[in-house]
């Protein structure tokens, strides 16, 4: 058997194990919509920890992180900077969201928003923006899966086949078991990712340069521009401070607002579980250090790759590691891509049905589950189209989605903390913020100081929310008061 075939067998075995865990978990969860979407609100700390970790550290971190470190140097440090900054507020926001979720039976973000600000338009708008932001994110994960498989099989299995096979499996377990499968497979995959990242991050610099210190000494001598912020752009020019700083801000403000992460507040067993996940989060974030080391290791030994996201598989395949380790690496990266992809597909379809369709026409439980499954397949197909036809870097894809996601922060914070917010204020803020973001996304040359379009959107969004709220009155002040009291846990 040739080497790549051995590796392919190892990967297949791994995928079989993953599928097995997912399907087993699914049999235990209940068949109701709450069971499918919110996993019966019964996840403990261990599972929550790895769900959060594995969901955030997707193909984005595993392939995109090294890809950026390799091609853009210190620009990648923005990823290390934003995670903890973004998750820390969740210590307060998460339990609040969970309390109103339990009390009112919410399973999505839009339901929470509409619970405080009754408006069908708001619900549908949030659903539409969610799906819009999810498409590049799912595309990223599929490309990631395809990249790994193509690289490891030496091109014998091209990106488009690899992505289709990996996502076929994801579809299978999302369709059959909902979030319970997502939880248990993420736990397993989270462990695999962590072990492999640290092993490679230490091993590759040792093998290629004789250690981490000597590696950076050599880069400092030959490519010093790679080691100071803000690093380079995709085309190799120096990146701007405005672009770098607002990449951190937009990601930090937006990160906990991703529907697939936010909705985890509704699946948590209790508030303590959420708080502990936040406290432990920096330990997961440090996993980016070995990931960057892998990318930096490529700078001096690999001539410019046409697609820098291939750097990690490229390096590991040219090392003299045994096929078993290479296979496990590939499985780790695949698992990273798939675990996030399944959470995204699941959350995207849930949001589209719960918030986009149900407010407009009634559905019974069975119809709703069936529609959700069709949407999972539909979103997967759209993302697959872009994954095969687009070639933006994985990190750039995610950073683009953040422009939309970050617009969810002001309404959700207002819903949970601000007594004075009104429905017209929240709706007009969200419309204005999203419009400005989209405008600057399509006219990026007009952005002042190279600021991220999502931040420009917020600069309009927040004042509009505040001013319109002040100019209008809350028609149900007692309902809002009750909502906020529930959020505070009184």
């Amino acid at each position: 058997m040739e080497r790549w075939q051995t590796i392919a067998v190892i990967i297949l075995l791994y995928l079989a194990v993953t599928l097995g865990i997912g399907l087993r978990a699914g049999r235990r969860a209940s068949k109701s919509v709450t069971g499918y979407v919110a996993g019966d609100r019964s996840f403990g700390l261990l599972v929550m920890y790895f769900i959060f970790g594995a969901t955030m550290f997707s193909a984005f971190a595993f392939l995109g992180g090294p890809g950026w470190a390799y091609s853009r140097g210190a620009a990648a440090f923005y990823i290390l900077s934003y995670g903890v900054l973004g998750m820390a507020p969740w210590y307060s926001v998460g339990p609040r969201a969970a309390r109103v979720g339990r009390a009112y039976g919410f399973v999505t973000q839009a339901q929470l928003l509409v619970g405080r600000f009754p408006s069908r338009f708001l619900s549908v708008l949030v659903a539409a923006l969610t799906v819009l932001a999810f498409v590049p994110y799912i595309t990223l994960q599929m490309r990631g899966a395809g990249i790994v498989i193509e690289a490891v099989t030496d091109g014998h299995i091209p990106l488009w086949v690899g992505a289709a096979v990996a996502y076929g499996i994801v579809l299978l377990y999302v369709l059959t078991s909902g979030v319970a499968a997502v939880g248990w497979t993420n736990t397993f995959q989270g462990v695999v990712m962590l072990v492999i990242a640290w092993t490679l991050g230490i091993y590759l610099p040792m093998r290629l340069y004789g250690g981490v210190g000597p590696m950076f000494d050599q880069i400092a001598n030959q490519r010093p521009e790679m080691l100071t912020v803000p690093g380079l752009t995709a085309s190799g020019e120096p990146w701007s401070w405005g672009g770098y700083s607002t990449a951190i801000l937009v990601s930090a403000i937006g990160v906990s607002m991703w529907p697939h992460l936010f909705m985890k507040a509704f699946t948590a067993k209790d508030d303590d579980t959420i708080r502990r996940t936040v406290v432990l989060f920096p330990t997961f974030q440090l996993f980016l250090i070995p990931v960057f080391l892998i990318g930096f290791a490529g700078i001096l030994v690999v001539d410019a790759l046409p697609d820098p996201d291939f750097i990690l598989p490229h390096l590991i395949l040219r090392s003299d590691l045994p096929a078993l380790v290479v296979g496990l690496f590939c499985a780790g990266a695949l698992s990273a891509s798939m675990s996030t992809g399944d959470a995204l597909l699941h959350a995207g379809a849930s949001v589209a049905v719960e918030d986009g369709v149900r407010p407009l026409r009634g559905l019974d439980d069975r119809q709703q589950r069936r529609l959700m499954r069709w949407l999972v397949v539909g979103m997967g197909a759209v993302a697959y189209f872009f994954a095969v036809n687009e070639s933006q870097s994985l990190v750039t894809l995610l950073l683009t989605s953040y422009g939309i996601i970050v617009q969810f922060t002001p309404p959700l914070v207002a819903a949970l903390y601000w007594r004075g917010a009104t429905t017209p204020g929240v709706v007009s803020g969200l419309v204005a913020g999203s419009a400005v973001t989209l405008f600057f996304y399509f006219n990026s040359a007009l952005r002042p100081l190279d600021l991220h379009e999502g931040i420009l959107g917020l600069l309009v969004h927040i004042p509009v929310l505040i001013i319109v709220s002040h100019l209008t009155t809350d028609p149900q002040p007692s309902a809002s008061e009750r909502f906020l009291q529930t959020a505070r846990g009184q």
Binding site: A74, F77, L80, S81, G83, V84, L85, A88, Y91, G211, V212, G213, M215, F216, D217, A220, P224, L227, T228, V229, W241, G242, Y244, S245, I248, L249, A252, R275, R276, V278, V279, F281, P282, T283, Q285, L286, I289, F292
Partner: protein, 86 residues
């Protein structure tokens, strides 16, 4: 905890407020020191720390300190909840 000195309502509330304030201040400083212009003085390759360039070690240091800050906050909040339940 019978051996702990009983704090007045204001005293306990004051303590948790101070801790919360400090943690919030910590994260604001974190944000300021990893973006422009706070990052500038630390945006150098040398001295290297544990083999990492200073720029990278600086940011990693903030992440590690965040863990400490969050543990402190969590302890204080847990005490506060216990106190309120008594």
């Amino acid at each position: 905890m019978p051996w702990a000195p009983r704090t007045s309502e204001e005293g306990g509330t004051l303590k948790i407020r101070v801790v919360r304030g400090c943690v919030v201040a910590f994260f604001i400083l974190f944000a300021l020191f990893v973006t422009w212009p706070g990052m500038l003085p630390f945006n150098r390759i040398r001295p290297s720390i544990l083999g990492l360039p200073l720029s990278m070690a600086w940011i990693a240091g903030w992440v590690i300190l965040s863990f400490v800050a969050l543990v402190v906050l969590d302890r204080a909040e847990a005490n506060e909840r216990r106190r309120r339940e008594e």
